[in-house]
């Protein structure tokens, strides 16, 4: 509850003030005076939060509007379905909703055909629909940079083909490319000029595969034991019959989300968050080795 209160105040009051008041009342660090008894502290905090809310109502800054768009190819005619990626799409949605704190504009397309994906990308909205446009893309992906569709007859389509008609420009367009060989798009002009994302989170380097993890199996590592907070959050935000599968990037996102108390307010904040995802994925890669974990990176490189 305190964490939720803290987060709500963070949205509507300068962070320094919120932390100073909290530490003063609860005696948990900072430069405040002696701590009050717990119940009195909570009542005092609630009273101050209410008063602060009234005081700042006229001048509080609403959170940036986020629009979420996703295209995921899951049910391939041969080979394993990409259930882990479907679950990652859900938790990205859930995390954005939690940050938004209000209904969010979202569009999720499952198993698109080539024409449908082209249309989706061509008709991405402009900046009038949201400060940030988060696009999650997941499918089987070739080393040359082509999207593989679920229907065998549809084959593959390159990004040159899919993005030949560029969508309206959006300064807050953020793309999450959760595929194998994701890094190959960095050097593709059509990606930089036509889609023109402000930042791209890539699930793998150009020569890497990216796998899903299985929380229901304690080997090769026991993810539930090593990341209890992330696991609990995943169980709350995924269906009850969740099979334990999540993509490599999805796990890095979930862990980074747990560590991010302030929702991103600016493009720099998003780059910092993507950097957090990079770092968590790097730790996973150190633990698991290159056989199981891929290199998550962002393009352009984030702030140090």
């Amino acid at each position: 509850m305190l964490r939720t209160i803290g987060r709500a105040r963070a949205l509507h009051a300068p962070p320094a003030e919120a932390s100073l008041l909290a530490s003063a009342l609860l005696g948990c660090g900072g430069s405040g005076g002696p701590a009050l008894p717990v119940r009195a502290s909570l009542l005092a905090l609630l009273a101050i939060a209410f008063a602060t809310g009234l005081t700042h109502a006229a001048t509080s800054t609403p959170p940036p509007r986020i629009q979420f768009v996703a295209a995921i190819s899951i049910d391939y005619a041969s080979g394993k379905p990409l259930r882990g990626w479907e679950n990652t799409c859900r938790i990205v949605q859930a995390s954005l909703s939690e940050w938004q704190g209000a209904p969010m504009t979202q569009l999720v397309v499952r198993n698109p055909a080539p024409a449908g994906l082209r249309q989706l990308l061509r008709q991405l909205p402009g900046p009038e629909t949201g400060t940030f446009q988060v696009i999650y893309l997941a499918a089987r992906h070739t080393p040359e940079g082509a999207w593989k569709f679920t229907q065998a007859l549809d084959g593959t389509a390159s990004w040159d083909d899919l993005l030949q008609h560029p969508p309206p420009a959006h300064a807050g367009r953020l793309v999450i490319l959760d595929v194998c060989h994701a890094g190959v798009v960095v050097d593709q002009p059509v990606w930089q000029h036509n889609l023109a994302p402000a930042a791209t989170l890539l699930a793998s380097a150009r020569d890497e595969l990216t796998y899903e993890f299985d929380f229901s199996n304690c080997q090769p590592i026991d993810l539930s034991a090593r990341y209890p907070a992330a696991t609990a959050w995943l169980r709350r935000n995924l269906p009850q019959d969740w099979d334990g599968r999540l993509s490599n990037l999805g796990l890095a996102w979930a862990i980074a989300f747990q560590q991010t108390l302030q929702p991103p307010q600016s493009l720099r904040d998003w780059q910092v968050f993507f950097g957090c995802c990079e770092n968590e994925a790097g730790r996973l890669r150190k633990m698991l080795g290159t056989k199981y974990a891929s290199t998550v990176s962002q393009s352009p490189p984030g702030p140090r």
């Binding site: 882990g84 089987r140 194998c180 990216t210 993890f213 299985d214 080997q219 090769p220 599968r245």
Partner: protein, 320 residues
């Protein structure tokens, strides 16, 4: 899981049978050795086939995670392993052999296109045997080299595949009348299999029947009056069952229970003892890191009236 030693013992016993046909010695002890020879003649090749099948089954069980790449990956989910096997086998019949076998194996396991599992393994074994006849003993020793290729694929719970192997042996046997027999068998095996596998979280189970065809060309030479060769064809049905459970991040346990039946063998081996038997035992795995793991198992042949065989295996596996 191998009972390599058992097969080598049988191979040498086969030698005595064949030699006795060609130049039967007038020796009651040797006669007895011949009469009790050639037991379970498919064991060596059977156990190599069984290990290859278990390698691909384990590979398919452990690689349930999907990846977001095009299916045409030729060489992924790779691992190499080395293994040491010790076998103790005793023929309980009068004049039967007591054998000790030591075998080293190196292997490569990987997935190829359409997630077909492949296991390639090479083996080298040495065996030393002695008969337990009062007042007499025959010493046998030999080397065996083997190469086995196994492929398999699963479609959900259904699993199918095949194994093919080649073995070359060099055995020397001294008989009671001071004859020395050299046996150098070439063996080819083919074993198709179809079964089921089930994986749910930390639990995995497989039940896979296989039918193995073995063709053995036995070139032998002796200090006796003649040398010759012989052919020995066998067919064996084996039903392989394995259960595994990951106790924690580091430790896994399992049980093996295989039922074996020799369905066809050469007619002059009418003294065949065990025609069907059960091989059971526990196994343990320890994962040092996600890449490195060690494993060990002990199996014993049950319901085998003639041969009392147990086997210990230890190995190291590296995934890359």
């Amino acid at each position: 899981m191998k009972t390599n030693c058992g097969m080598l013992v049988v191979t040498m016993a086969s030698l005595l049978t064949v030699s006795s046909v060609m130049a039967r010695p007038d020796d009651p002890v040797a006669d007895k050795i011949v009469d009790v020879s050639a037991d379970n003649p498919g064991n060596l090749y059977l156990t190599e086939m069984r290990e290859g099948a278990q390698n691909v089954i384990t590979l398919l069980e452990k690689n349930q995670a999907a990846h977001a790449a095009d299916e045409n990956l030729w060489f992924h989910s790779r691992s190499v392993y080395s293994e040491y096997t010790y076998t103790d086998s005793r023929d309980e019949r009068l004049g039967g052999f007591t054998s000790e076998g030591r075998e080293g194996t190196v292997g490569l396991n990987f997935l190829t296109i359409c997630d077909v599992a492949v296991s390639l393994m090479g083996t080298y074994g040495q065996i030393a045997s002695d008969t337990r006849v009062p007042g007499e003993h025959n010493v046998d020793n030999g080397d065996n080299y083997g190469l086995t290729l196994t492929v398999a694929k699963n479609c959900d719970w259904l699993l199918f595949g095949a194994s093919a192997g080649y073995d070359r042996g060099y055995f020397r046997t001294r008989t009671p009348n001071d004859g020395i027999f050299k046996l150098e068998p070439d063996a080819f095996t083919v074993a198709p299999f179809v079964g089921v596998m089930y994986v749910n979280g930390n639990f995995s189970f497989s039940s896979v029947p296989a039918y193995m065809f073995t063709w053995i060309d036995q070139d032998y030479d002796s200090t006796g009056p003649t040398s010759s060769d012989d052919h020995n064809n066998q067919e064996t049905f084996v039903w392989m069952n394995t259960v595994n459970y990951n106790l924690c991040e580091k430790l896994g346990v399992g049980v093996v229970a295989d039922w074996n039946r020799l369905t066809h063998y050469k007619k002059n081996m009418e003294a065949v003892g065990d025609r069907e038997w059960l091989t059971v035992g526990p196994k343990l795995s320890y994962q040092f890191t996600p890449a490195w793991a060690a494993y060990a198992s002990i199996t014993k042949d049950l319901n085998s009236g003639t041969y009392k065989t147990w086997q210990a295996i230890g190995g190291l596996n590296y995934g890359f």
